[in-house]
């Protein structure tokens, strides 16, 4: 029909002005997204930001209040059945039947995608192989490790060979090794040309996997761009150390404040936590130079420090820079809340649209 002809140059996912409220809670306050075919979009945000709500609307599980969303050119409200034929979904928990074996789980999903029994069997075998589950194929899924269950869940979402795959926090709760394994799998799916929308709470995950990242907070897209662009806004890498003598934190801040002066970099002022003695400073792209200068500055001031290191910006740093508040809402008052609604945060909201 006409919609089939019309989808040629359209993005795989197009979202315009999407809103959704649950009672008084405004989960989505008007988000826009556009994901070109064959690319990976990382949706980054803390718990409760609206990521899952957006995924649920895009996968036809939830109706939006306003706005529209197209997946593969099909409207998620009016053409939900066509959307379902184009997508796969792997949610935050492993949506598998634990009493069944891995093979049975995949075969039943295959049957529900209207494959014949022989087709369903061979598709299951193929996916078990691809996901390294062949040895465990005939064991009940409840005896699988967490990582294996998530891989089986992801395999189930691929039975129907979806053009667009939604992964809602695919590595949340996994141990580091399983997480890396999952990343490899996701990378190979992307390499095969599947369009991916991936939500995550981890900046490094979005950085590793996504072509484009949008940052969502309180139901709004507050920033969008590549990982590099976002990190540029955050102020690049962070040098961090602990001052064991709490009385000398002020001296430490004064000492390291100089290293970013006159560099012309979008760095930051040092931030100190009086309780833990942790001092951090954003050093832009100056990287190891800044690290060396920090060591010299601290040495010159005769300060003893521990755990001096340079790290990449975390989700917390991104949020601090973009919104003026920490990713975790429980954070008590203090320095982070103090910046809420600051000039910088507002500028970033503009960037979003």
């Amino acid at each position: 029909m006409s919609q089939v002809d019309g989808i040629g140059g359209q993005p795989a996912i197009l979202v315009e002005g999407l809103t959704k409220s649950f009672g008084d809670v405004r989960a989505l306050r008007g988000i826009d997204l556009s994901v070109p075919r064959g690319t990976v979009l990382g949706v980054l945000g803390p718990n409760g930001a609206g990521k899952t709500t957006a995924v649920r609307i895009l996968t036809t599980l939830l109706l939006p209040d306003e706005g529209r969303a197209l997946v593969e050119g099909y409207d998620v409200v009016r053409q939900a059945a066509a959307v379902r034929r184009s997508i796969g979904l792997a949610g935050q928990s492993a949506a598998i039947q634990e009493e069944l074996t891995g093979r049975e789980n995949l075969e039943i999903v295959g049957r529900l995608y209207h494959l014949s029994w022989p087709q369903a069997r061979s598709r299951a075998t193929e996916l078990l192989e691809q996901f390294g589950l062949t040895d465990a194929a005939d064991r009940a899924a409840k005896n699988y490790s967490g990582g294996m269950q998530r891989r089986l869940d992801l395999a189930a979402s691929l039975v129907g060979q979806p053009k667009v795959l939604f992964l809602d926090e695919p590595t949340t709760g996994l141990d580091p090794r399983s997480r890396l394994g999952m990343w490899d799998i996701i990378r190979s799916l992307a390499a095969d040309g599947t369009t991916l929308l991936l939500t995550t709470q981890y900046l490094d995950e979005a950085d590793e996997l996504a072509d484009e990242i949008v940052v969502i907070d309180h139901g709004l897209v507050i920033a969008a761009g590549t990982a590099e662009e976002l990190k540029g806004r955050v102020g690049g890498d962070v040098v961090e150390f602990t001052v064991p003598d709490r009385g000398r934190i002020g001296d430490a801040v004064t000492a390291v404040a100089k290293i970013m002066e006159g560099s012309g970099e979008a760095g930051g002022e040092p931030i100190a936590d009086a309780e833990t003695g942790v001092v951090s400073i954003r050093v832009g792209s100056r990287g190891s130079d800044a690290l060396v200068e920090t060591v010299r500055a601290l040495d010159a001031a005769g300060l003893e420090t521990r755990g001096l290191a340079m790290r990449r910006p975390s989700l917390d740093d991104v949020f601090l820079a973009l919104t003026g508040h920490a990713a975790e809402e429980e954070e008590p008052g203090g320095r982070r809340r103090g910046r809420r609604g600051g000039k910088r945060g507002k500028d970033m909201e503009r960037t979003a649209s």
Partner: protein, 275 residues
């Protein structure tokens, strides 16, 4: 027809199948879900305990522990009075499984996965009800066999006996519809189980299932005499042992039809909105 089905069967193909194919797929999807549910049921020992051992224990307890203290005016004595009641209760309690399974699937995201797939929207609920009806039928047959072993006899002929079994199954399916709704609406297996106890125990025990209503205090009789479980069990008793059937049968049919008309759409709505 075949061509349509094959196109629909190609994974990821966004071609919408026609109406006859859609009906065929709805049946096929329902059977797939039924099969899955039955495999799960057979693999969990606790489910077997609940569906087989618990009802058998009820039969033996009421027959030998309480039975002697409950005077009834029925040919064949208390065991004949008891069995229709216990079959009704068994059918109603089978619905615990419906509510708990759906709540668990909802919580684990299994229902989200199924709802995001291009399968028939009706299949998850229909498959659940078909599987639970099968499970309930097995339980009823086992309970009847145990009843026969401890002295129960149908005294009204084969036809009415079969009708009695059918009525108990239809009654059980009606209660399963209520439970499907509560399971999806509450969405947490422990709360669902607690809620099931709160309403299912009173409606089955405050009925004619285990004791003659005339032995209850007057205020309780008012409730017990006018509630659907009593109508259904009195009908079953009359079918099994003889006696006037018609009045209670019509009341039962009206109540059961009412339950289906109200709770089927509610369960379907809860499934669609499940989150």
């Amino acid at each position: 027809m075949t061509a349509v089905a094959e196109r629909a069967g190609a994974p990821g193909a966004p071609a919408a199948p026609g109406l006859p194919a859609r009906f065929r797929w709805a049946v096929s999807d329902t059977l797939t879900i039924t099969r899955r549910n039955l495999i799960v049921w057979m693999r969990v020992p606790a489910y077997i305990v609940f569906t087989v051992i618990q009802p058998v224990m009820f039969v033996l307890m009421f027959r030998y522990v309480f039975g002697g203290a409950i005077p009834v005016n029925v040919p064949g004595g208390y065991v004949n009075f008891l069995m229709p009641g216990i079959l009704g209760q068994t059918a109603a309690f089978a619905s615990f499984g419906t509510a708990i399974s759906l709540a668990m699937e909802l919580k684990k995201g299994v229902i989200d996965r199924l709802r995001s797939m291009p399968m028939a929207r009706s299949a998850v609920l229909a498959g659940r009800l078909v599987a639970d009806t099968g499970r309930m039928t097995v339980t009823i047959v086992i309970v009847l066999a145990v009843g026969y072993a401890v002295g129960f006899r149908f005294t009204n002929g084969v036809g009415p006996a079969i009708l009695m079994v059918l009525l108990s199954i239809v009654f059980g399916v009606a209660i399963c519809c209520i439970s499907a709704f509560t399971g999806l609406a509450i969405g947490d297996e422990e709360s669902v189980q607690a809620f099931g106890l709160i309403w299912l125990f009173p409606v089955t025990f405050l009925s004619s299932a285990f004791v003659p209503i005339s032995t209850m205090p007057g205020w309780l009789q008012a409730f017990a005499n006018n509630q659907p479980v009593t109508y259904v069990i009195d009908t079953m008793r009359a079918l099994a042992l003889g006696g006037p059937v018609e009045a209670n049968l019509w009341k039962s049919v009206a109540w059961l039809a009412g339950i289906f008309i109200v709770f089927m759409p509610l369960a379907v709505r809860a499934y669609r909105r499940a989150s």
